[in-house]
Symmetry: C2
Subunit: 144 residues, 2 copies
């Protein structure tokens, strides 16, 4: 799926992503990059609302699980997340989630293929004007 | 401020809360309770989107900090959060954040009043049809 196709899928199936203006900037073998403008995601201080930052980071990691498994029937749920807000985001939001290394992915795909279940631990970073501002970690479980 | 006044403030100042349909159900000395309908917050599986759950839990805790300090000039930021998603939310979302005990609040208010800075650790729970489904913990810092 192209970035435009993933964006259209998100807007059609998860209405909040449309309200947030989330768009897929790029999606390749290395990473999934999401963007959202500050305007619909600001708080009362004019910086990005912590809830929007949580939502876009969760979404980026969720998308990586889905893309990494390469199985449209995979049922993915988030089990736990943790975030560190190092400084406020004052510009448009950019969330980057890298795919696990190829050897890790091979083991995960094998587990998923054999047992119909896999657990992935992912990290994502939200940047503000190119600098990391928020760190995200999450555990996801995929079943078939 | 009444629940309706807090709801209006949120919608006017944090646009995502309006897109999510967040409303303050109650706000008293014990707890802040927020609600949001499932419809604008569903994911592709028809259950509540993890990002919406993160956003409403963060907002409930944030609101408690603000109400607990009783100082409209307080500048509140979230420092870190962690969440455990125990089971999917299939009905309207209800987030409950209790205020710290009165003795803890007294110490926090004193610290805030003397040093112009206070740190609060809060827990919130998201219920699905009356049962706890998601647990939230967060650290917030208030400055004047």
């Amino acid at each position: 799926m192209s970035p435009a196709e993933i964006t259209a899928y998100l807007h059609a199936n998860i209405p909040l992503t449309q309200a947030m203006g989330v768009e897929v900037e790029s999606s390749d073998v290395d990473a999934l990059v999401l963007r959202a403008p500050l305007e619909p995601n600001h708080n009362h201080l004019g910086t990005a609302f912590g809830g929007s930052l949580s939502a876009i980071a969760t979404l980026a990691a969720y998308g990586v699980v889905w893309l990494a498994l390469g199985d449209g029937r995979a049922h993915v749920v988030v089990k736990d997340t943790s975030m560190r807000f190092r400084r406020p985001v004052r510009s448009d939001i950019r969330a980057v989630c890298r795919l696990p290394e190829e050897e890790t992915m091979r083991i995960i795909r094998e587990e998923f293929s054999q047992k119909g279940r896999a657990r992935l631990h992912l990290r994502a970073v939200i940047e503000d004007a190119g600098d990391p501002a928020v760190e995200f970690e999450g555990t996801f479980v995929a079943t078939r």
